[in-house]
Amino acid sequence: MKCVIPSPVSSRRNFLRSSACGFGSLALNALLQHQSWAGPAATSRTGGPLAAQPPHFPARARRVIFLFMKGGPSHMDLFDHKPQLVSRSGGMLPYTLPSTEATVGLDATRLLGPVSGFKHQGQSGLFMSDLLPLIGRHADDLCLLRAMHADSPNHPVAVRQLHTGNLFDVGPSMGSWLSYGLGTENQQLPSYVTILPGEGERNFSSAFLPAIHQGTAIQDVGGKAGQAPIRHLSDPVISRDAQRRRLDLVQAMNRRQLDRLQTDQQMEGVVESFELAFRMQTETPRLVDLARESQATLDLYGIGRAPTDQFGRQCLLARRLAEAGVRFVQVTLDGWDHHSGIAGGLKNLCSQCDQPVAGLLTDLKSRGLLDETLVLWGGEFGRTPHAQNGDGREHNQHGFTMWMAGGGVKGGIVHGATDDFGYHAVDGKVHINDLHATMLHLLGLDHERLTFEHHGRPFRLTDVAGKVVRDIIS
């Protein structure tokens, strides 16, 4: 796909007109992100910049839910059991550490056996950790990618690579690319939503893609924090009527000016953005209000009890957004960076993660959504087979596990393998670029054709690399 050079005026107006009809009863509006450009780079599309676009070829999945496990979960403790690591735990390293890396806490380090037990799960018998028993029940839907690898052992760089494919430069996030490539199925919603992302907004950036493809951050899911789901969503002081009165004055001034100018699409855009913002103030809270869900559903996700409440809310909101047609939903769970005390730390994180994720898979399946929704679980890298600080593990980008479910991938399979200790990916290797290529492929996009002109050359999510992992496609 080539970048389409501007002539945004008429299509943008039509879009505004059509979406204006849908205001009121519908939730968060696409115009949350709607923009007009003074410069070049707007897109011309029938039905607006977020109109659903046909894929390059028939798609297997229509949307993605990315469960981002920030910090780097330990693969050999969760999904990649290594008998050698059990038998040689506490023993000397059978490999040398890379001389190019400054090491911390690795003096006289020893191998560290898995800190959890493993069980065969499901008909397929996937061998998985006891710490994720409920996810284990979905083993027959999971496709374990055991030979993931990435290029940086640093959190910020690796997180950026996972999100954007880029190590060095700022690039659009994968959600932005999907939004750009496919638009969204619901014009009343942003195409890319990220739920409680924490810091690091640049990982949800549209970068050089039009700003409408930027991830919209939901910063509260109705938990204890009680803040607005989107920043500055309400006036802290005055009533809605008084606010409307003020807005009417602003808009009257703006209209007088626009009458004088006859037309100015950038200024018209501002006028429209105020109206949208005003409506969003009531519509957005409704969207994120989980009180409309049944108690059974809340229980399914572990909402209302520790330690699953918050992540459960995030996962349930992800289902609601996916169901409503959002193209890419990201849910972040931070805390997997276990440099020490990994036995306790991992147990803690898994107890937050297990039920909500299992609940999400169950819920998607029962609603018939799992087949068309690609669920992706994983962190920016894995961890080392050797101990750090005695009972923790250091970062390891050379080999780790992510998994997929639904969305046209085979369930109950393992793809790829690391070495005997889980240090390096050896067979069926899947680089981050390959992961991105595969994800785009499942959504019907050729990663080599999904490009955008910037600084004089076409950019893509996979840069100059990426191979679709065809073996995992059902």
Binding site: L32, Q33, H34, S36, W37, A38, G39, G71, P98, T100, E101, A102, T103, V104, G105, D107, S152, P153, P156, V157, F168, V170, E199, G200, R202, A211, I230, R231, H232, L233, V237, A242, Q243, R245, R246, L247, L249, M253, R256, L258, L261, Q262, D264, Q266, V270, V271, S273, M280, Q281, G335, W336, D337, H338, H339, G341, G345, N389, E453, H455, R457
Partner: protein
């Protein structure tokens, strides 16, 4: 590796094709029909094209519009009512020229144009890609740039100083300081200081420097050639590594270990004489602080003598019942210092995040707990953040309790791994977690008399000097009472658990707080003394043995290939000889090469940048990219004309070039609709009207402060508040950013945005407006900002407290300055915000609005004032305020 002969041929062919590499040539100024319209040559170039297209330029802008436009474009500030008045009443010839002169001479020029420069040079007061290491000396470079623009330092000299100032000759210590500080241009950047693959980090820093210089001065994406020959432009990989050799021969960051952190290179500045007043003032502060410390110490010493068990030692011992859980007794858990203490800030990772402190029963259930806000609690050994926090709990008598300290966000800081459970239990205090039983080197302190046992609660990380809570111990006070002390470094007890209530306990509490005050005074002294240490600048220097470097195959630093001699872009024709002297890095030669008299790129790219900032878009709209796939200039002859004026006639003077631009007739056109012109040239590439622009985030903030009368004219100097203990630099000159909020110097809070510390993550608080309104990310090179319109901006203007506050201040100012007639007050409101008086319709709707608001609020005496705040708030969200025509 594709550096062989074939690619050289490809490059030569590409160079042949690229318009920007052709020599800059003096164009013929075209003749036009409507000669009266032409003020200077710029107008002739533009008008000739318009006439060719059958179009006419827009009429002249009115004086209000013109003054608002030129004031924002030259200084980033709106005109004041007095300035508007003066211009409107200056009917003599040359009134506009006088305004331009005034604006060019005002310090606001440097404040504004420095910001343009920082959009290209990745300036921030934080290092590291995550933006989590404050760098206290960055401001010196910021002030250097502002001063350079104000002094109209010639651009070629400006380039030489920033790339190779340390290598230039100098006459005085003051000049030497300036030249060193100038190289902050290369030293400051989004370096991944925590990257523990140091070879990769070095290669990335070099890459960024090449990319920055390539785009800023040359409009070329040289970085593309890091891994392969450039696909479109004439830049072979060998050129990239020729430049890389220069920067690899330059020290930008250093890694001394242990730990993973590198630091930005600092260079001591030669001393300049301090004024006697300044020296005296500083000594006075030191003396006063020392006196205060003595008083506190003396009170503490006396108090300690009255507390049983507390010896004369200057270490406070707090008493506690061991069980700390008698039924219905109130216990107080206090934490007085940072639990995460590093000997060196470079070992610190991110700000320690929120902490969860729980009092646990024997069965692990929580008896009481407290969660700290993120960043409430962190610091370094030099600068622990002494923020006493704590909570009370009521014992339930159900057996021993233990104290658990965990990070509420274990993934975000080293603390998560550094502190395990602490236990208070019957008869002893013991380490609850297995595995970390070695204390870090240098962490020991003298054991107190009566020590019962030692508690280890910190993860000892080899190579780190102290981590987490370094040590603690209990003191047997006799009679079944024990005291627990937990130390974080040697800055004093970190935590105490004590029964609260009786007189003796109160004395203990007082003693404890005294001890903290003594500590704080001590810290302040250290801070003041630190200010007397040699001043440092973030600056680069040559490495000891500059050398040519290898090509990295596919960009991989682990795959070095053949060595390439240091040099510059081979496709660029220049006249001078810039061979690199033995023993030199080549930076000076690079700087001179950039400003060679035949260099076709530098003057074109920079002249286009000036045009972009004045006319709102470049003659080449892809301002950072003049390559094969960039945009062609809309007016190539005009671009060459301007490039030659800049380099030759104006001798690289920015002010002279800018003056020429704003004195053109074209600049003084209205932003007026013209359906016929819009049909022929919808993008206004021929400049048939003045492009309208939405103000950027910093301009909006500054304009709001200016309107409300809050804008502080103060300029220059550190903005981090170096006298605050939080901001004392560690060994590397870096500062732990821990709790960023509130640590700017108080006198900076209402200054122009340029004087705020610039963050690398999303700006919050007072500066949130920047991220909402398209302020460029400081890690990126952004010659042309986006002007987006999204609903989140409307939400911000409607609801953000900072906007409300300025509206209120503005209303207060108006009430004071125009207390009488409300119509006059409305006029003043318009003059202050949109810089023209209100027209009749606007005045009437404003009055109606005020009436409606105050009627709504009833007879309340504040009603009218509230209505005025609402009116001001409305204006601050109007298009007239948000745009400049």
């Amino acid at each position: 590796m594709l550096v062989g002969g074939s690619s050289a041929i490809v490059s030569a062919a590409a160079a042949e094709k690229l318009w920007a590499l052709r020599p800059v040539s003096e164009p013929v100024v075209p003749s036009v029909h409507d000669r009266d319209w032409v003020y200077n040559e710029i107008d002739a170039f533009l008008l000739a094209r318009l006439e060719q297209a059958g179009l006419a330029p827009a009429p002249d802008a009115d004086r209000y519009t013109l003054l608002r436009r030129v004031s924002f474009d030259l200084t980033g500030l709106p005109p004041t009512p007095d300035e508007i008045d003066a211009f409107l009443n200056d009917t003599a010839a040359g009134a506009y020229e006088r305004v331009v002169t005034r604006l060019l001479d005002s310090p606001g020029f440097g404040d504004h144009w420095a910001r343009h420069w920082f959009d290209l040079s990745c300036y921030a007061d934080l290092a590291d890609i995550q933006g989590n290491v404050l760098i206290r000396d960055a401001w010196r470079y910021r002030d250097y740039v502002i001063a350079a623009f104000n002094a109209d330092k010639p651009l070629d000299r400006f380039i030489h100083e920033q790339i190779a100032g340390d290598l230039l000759p100098y006459q005085s210590a003051a000049e030497r300081r300036e030249l060193i500080i100038a190289t902050g241009y290369l030293a400051i950047g989004p370096w991944t200081l925590q990257n523990y693959i140091k070879g990769q980090l070095d290669a990335d820093v070099v890459d960024h420097q090449i990319d920055r210089i390539g785009r800023t001065f040359l409009g070329q994406t040289i970085s593309c050639a890091r891994c392969h020959d450039h696909k479109f432009d004439p830049i072979p990989t060998a050129d990239y590594y020729a430049l890389a050799g220069i920067f690899r021969s330059t020290r930008t960051i250093r890694y001394d270990g242990p730990g993973v952190w590198s630091a930005i290179s600092h260079v001591p500045l030669p001393a300049v004489e301090k004024s006697p007043e300044e020296t005296a003032q500083r000594q006075k502060s030191i003396d006063e602080t020392e006196a205060q410390r003595r008083i506190l110490q003396s009170e503490l010493t006396s108090l300690l003598q009255t507390i049983p068990g507390a010896t004369t030692a200057n270490v406070l011992v707090m008493q506690q019942g061991i069980a700390a859980n008698a039924k219905d007794h109130v216990y107080e858990v206090k934490f007085e210092a940072a639990p995460s203490v590093w000997a060196d800030v470079q070992q610190a990772t991110t700000a320690v995040d929120g902490l969860q402190i729980d009092v646990l029963r024997g069965d692990g259930t929580v008896l009481a707990g407290h969660q700290h806000q993120p960043g409430e609690w962190a610091g370094t050994k030099e600068a622990p953040l002494m923020k006493p926090v704590g909570f009370s709990y009521v014992g339930d008598g159900l057996g021993d309790v233990r104290l658990r300290i965990t990070s509420s966000n274990p993934g975000s800081g080293r603390f998560g791994g550094a502190v395990d459970d602490l236990v208070i239990s019957e008869g002893s205090v013991r380490h609850f977690s297995e595995g970390f039983d070695t204390l870090a080197a240098g962490a020991a302190v003298g054991v107190q008399a009566g020590t019962a046992c030692k508690v280890l609660a910190g993860a000892s990380v080899p190579g780190w000097v102290g981590a987490g809570i370094s040590h603690s111990h209990a003191v047997d006070l006799g009679g079944g009472d024990y005291a627990l002390q937990i130390f974080g470094g040697d800055a004093g007890p970190l935590a105490t658990v004590q029964p609260a209530g009786d007189a003796e306990k109160r004395a203990q509490a007082r003693a404890l707080s005294l001890q903290m005050e003594v500590g704080a005074a001590q810290l302040k002294l250290s801070a003041l003394e630190a200010l007397q240490a040699p001043e440092l600048a973030l600056a680069v220097c040559d490495v000891e043995v500059p050398a040519d470097g290898p090509v990295f195959k596919r960009g991989d630093f682990l795959s070095p290939g053949r060595i390439v001699p240091r040099g510059f872009l081979s496709a660029v024709p220049v006249t001078g000889d810039y061979s690199i002297a033995p023993g030199a890095s080549g930076r000076l030669e690079l700087a001179r090469w950039l400003t060679d008299s035949a260099h076709p790129l530098t003057s074109r790219v920079l002249a286009n940048r000036l045009w972009h900032h004045i006319f709102g878009r470049g003659l080449v709209r892809s301002v950072d990219y003049f390559g094969v796939h960039g945009e062609r200039p809309s007016h190539p002859e005009l671009l060459d004309f301007l490039a030659l004026r800049l380099r030759v006639d104006d001798q690289w003077s920015i002010k002279k070039s800018v003056r020429r631009l704003v004195l053109s007739r074209a600049y003084q056109m209205a932003s007026a609709p013209d359906a016929a012109a819009a049909a022929v040239d919808p993008d206004n590439r021929l400049f048939w009207q003045m492009p309208r622009r939405r103000l950027g985030g910093e301009l909006l903030r500054d304009a709001m402060l200016a309107a409300s009368g809050q804008l502080d004219p103060g300029r220059g100097g550190p903005s981090l508040g170096l006298e605050l203990p939080d901001n004392i630099a560690g060994a590397g000159g870096n500062v732990n950013p821990a709790t960023w909020g509130g640590k700017i110097a108080a006198d900076v809070a209402n200054r122009r945005t340029i004087y705020f510390p610039m963050m690398r993550e999303r700006p919050q608080g007072d500066l949130e407006i920047l991220s909402v309104f398209d302020f460029p990310h400081p890690n990126e090179i952004t010659g042309a900002r986006a002007e987006t319109t999204v609903a989140t901006q409307a939400l911000f203007l409607m609801n953000a407290p900072v906007v409300k506050l300025q509206a209120q201040r503005l209303a207060e100012r108006l009430a004071k300055e125009e207390p009488g007639d409300e119509r006059a007050r409305i006029d003043r409101l318009f003059l202050l915000t949109v810089n023209r008086p209100a027209d009749a319709a606007a005045t009437e709707s404003a009055i109606a609005f005020l009436d409606a608001c105050s009627q709504d609020a009833g007879a309340h005496p504040e009603a009218r004032a509230g209505a005025w705040t609402e009116l001001c708030h409305a204006i601050l969200g109007s298009n007239q305020f948000l745009f400049r025509e």
